[in-house]
């Protein structure tokens, strides 16, 4: 980023100061420390997962091998997190836009504060809320959906009579990641150069055109970054999903409103770990390893997308 300022070929009249060297050293050290910590976690994960990877198929819970065990979990994790993000990102951008550009200044501050606050609500509260408040509310709409839109695979039914469905889990996840994404995106919008905005308005752009031309391109990298942050949380969310979702092993289905749902990896670990023994426990850790890999892929994609737009970074 700061490469333009380094300019090594210039006559190096100013020697590198000790302060610089120390500071650079300390920062680099922190980075390396993270690598070491992660290496520790990785070693721990792989050693713990190894017995499951090498165990004969019939020892794995379910008796049909690791792939059969983990595949529904993977499916459940992906479908819940991705759909939650599909709901949350547009809403989060809308909220951030509303707070930054539409709401009156005095109200905007309070609104921003409320949203930040919501990012701080612990997942167990979302779990309690989803189970006690949201799930019962969705029972009637879900049965309406299955009656009238049953031809869409998402709403095939039969509808759950308790409302503890994938749909509710997705909504809960969306609500959970919404404030996180909003907070980061809003921060980016407030950093949009005032000059760009004023220039757009000065040439007669409407508010939306100004947002489209000045704010959104500037914030794009942040929106993607924030979405990935949200996706990370949605993928790894444990307690809320465990409490809300009625999950049974082996249920791969796009059906969002029945009571038979694939569990998510993180929730499954939380549910089964306390009573897991031997290979069962190692299998759970192996599923954690898979979650690890997914996050890795997701983040690599996100990095690639952001890097393509890198010219816009640093407000150049």
């Amino acid at each position: 980023m700061a490469s333009s300022t380094e300019a090594p070929p210039r006559k190096n009249r100013v020697p590198r100061r000790p302060g610089d060297r120390i500071f650079a050293g300390v920062s680099t050290g922190s980075g390396v420390l993270i690598l070491v910590a992660l290496a520790g976690v990785a070693v721990f994960l792989v050693t713990e997962a190894w017995p499951a990877l090498t165990a004969p198929a019939e020892d794995i819970p379910g008796g049909q091998g690791l792939v059969v065990y983990i595949w529904p979990l993977l499916f459940g994790t992906l479908i819940s997190a991705v759909l939650a993000l599909v709901i949350a990102v547009p809403l989060a951008v809308a909220i951030a836009l509303f707070i930054t550009y539409y709401a009156p200044r005095s109200i905007a501050k309070a609104l921003g504060y409320i949203i930040d606050l919501l990012a701080a609500v612990p997942s167990i509260i979302f779990g309690l809320w989803g189970m006690n408040v949201l799930a019962p509310v969705t029972v009637d709409p879900a049965s309406w959906l299955s009656q009238h839109l049953g031809w869409i695979p998402f709403f095939a039914g039969p509808p759950s009579s308790t409302g503890r469905t994938m749909l509710v889990a997705i909504i809960v996840l969306a609500v959970m990641v919404l404030p996180i994404i909003t907070a980061v995106v809003r921060e980016a919008f407030t950093q949009t150069p005032q000059l760009h905005q004023e220039a757009a308005l000065a040439i007669g752009a409407t508010r939306w055109e100004m947002i489209r031309m000045a704010a959104l391109p500037f914030g794009r990298s942040s929106i993607i970054g924030a979405s990935m942050l949200g996706l990370g949380r949605a993928l790894g969310e444990t307690m809320a999903v465990a409490m809300v979702l009625s999950a049974s092993a082996g249920g791969i289905t796009f059906n969002l409103i029945s009571s038979e749902n694939p569990p998510t990896i993180a929730a499954n670990i939380a549910l089964q770990f306390p009573e897991a023994t031997g290979v069962g426990m190692h299998t759970l850790i192996a599923s954690g390893l898979v979650l690890f890999a997914i996050t890795l892929v997701v983040n690599m994609i996100a990095r690639a997308v952001i890097n393509r737009r890198k010219d816009f970074d640093g407000a150049n």
């Binding site: 819970p61 009579s161 009625s246 009571s259 549910l271 089964q272 306390p274 897991a276």
Partner: protein
């Protein structure tokens, strides 16, 4: 800028002082708390409420501190066998491999394993307009195996004469997490209705497609929120939900502490595990009148020998309190468990009395 420098000078120290000020004083109810040995336990979360009752009752007349982490039965067994905790709670008795590990950990004298927490598992239902229902074991198995899907099925109607059963879909609710309650319930189905229940016994629910909920609270909540639901849960949490009268022999029995504890008296002790191990294979298919066969029996594990004499005394006294009439009553009042019979108590008492320290004599 001046203001901000001033601010910098004050904010951090003030925050720090505030934090330390808060830490300095303890809880209002703990002032002058006497110190004593600390013993730590871990294990089944089903015992958590009972353990809380026991340690409260025990510490009223004893010094010291008792901790119990409800990490789950297998976690408790593992931590016990590798020496992480002084005692453990487990919904199942140790298997052969764990017996060896426990003997290794405890060394000479072996380990102590006594049933301390017996809790009836109630079948709870929420069907609009129905406030009493009787079910035979075979019917229960078919319901949970999703072979009977409507409440007005002739098989249900046959044992419920005079009850107006609605044409509602049956929604069986099971535990989503691995649990001793599930294992005990499945074991009951397997033994009481082997033909209708083809699944293996494990702590995970074997049938997919039902409603699954996390923990006892989750099951109760799900049953409450739905219509036509039926689930199994610790009887203490049944609340005002309708509980099923279960067929035993020719009669139907509603759960009660006495009926649940009675099962233990007709069950057989597992042999060859050392004199201080009281593990029971429950007689789920009992035809004995007045017994309620769906029970969860949870064990307490300890060593016969501890290096530290104070600790040994404390563990011994604590276990003694657990199985005493007083302790069992406290658990019944707080956790809704079924007190063990005097007969059983007199059998397991010597095992608890054997706890001591090799160093105490010298």
């Amino acid at each position: 800028m001046k203001r901000s420098t001033l601010g910098r000078a004050f904010v951090l120290p003030t925050t720090a002082a505030l934090a330390f000020g808060l830490v300095a004083c303890g809880s209002a109810n703990e002032e002058g708390a006497a110190s004593g040995p600390t013993i730590n336990g871990a294990g089944a979360s089903s015992q958590e409420a009972a353990q809380s009752a026991w340690r409260t009752g025990f510490l009223e007349s004893n010094d010291g501190m008792i901790n119990y982490d409800p990490v789950g039965s297998s976690g408790g067994r593992e931590q016990f066998t590798n020496g992480g905790v002084d005692f453990a709670g487990s919904d199942a008795y140790l298997d052969d491999k764990e017996v060896k590990a426990a003997q290794e950990r405890c060394g000479e004298g072996g380990f102590v394993e006594v049933p301390a927490y017996v809790s009836p598992v109630a079948l709870i239902t929420n069907i609009e307009g129905v406030d009493s229902i009787k079910l035979k074991p075979e019917t229960i198995a078919k319901i949970f195996n999703q072979k009977i899907t409507k409440w007005n099925d002739p098989e249900i109607a046959a044992s419920n004469e005079g009850v107006d059963l609605p044409d509602t879909r049956i929604v069986p609710v099971n535990r989503a997490d691995g649990s001793g309650t599930t294992e005990n319930f499945v074991e009951y189905l397997k033994e009481a209705a082997p033909e209708q229940w083809p699944h293996e016994v494990s702590d995970e629910w074997p049938v997919s497609g039902g409603e699954a909920a996390q923990g006892t609270s989750g099951v109760v909540q799900a049953v409450k929120n739905g219509n036509g639901t039926i689930g199994y849960a610790d009887a203490s949490q049944a609340g005002d939900l309708t509980t099923v009268e279960v067929g035993v022999g020719d009669e139907f029995v509603k759960y009660s502490p006495e009926a649940a504890a009675a099962v233990l008296d007709v069950s057989e002790r597992v042999e060859g595990r050392g004199e201080n191990s009281f593990a029971f294979d429950l007689a789920r298919d009992t035809k004995e009148s007045g017994t309620y066969p769906i029970v969860l029996v949870s064990y307490v594990l300890a060593c016969s020998n501890y290096d530290n004499a104070d600790k040994a005394t404390m563990v011994k006294d604590y276990l003694n309190y657990m199985i005493s009439a007083e302790g069992q009553k406290a658990a019944e009042e707080q956790a809704g468990s079924a007190p063990i019979s005097d007969d059983l108590r007199s059998k397991v008492q010597p095992a608890v009395e054997s706890i001591g320290s090799a160093n105490s004599g010298s």
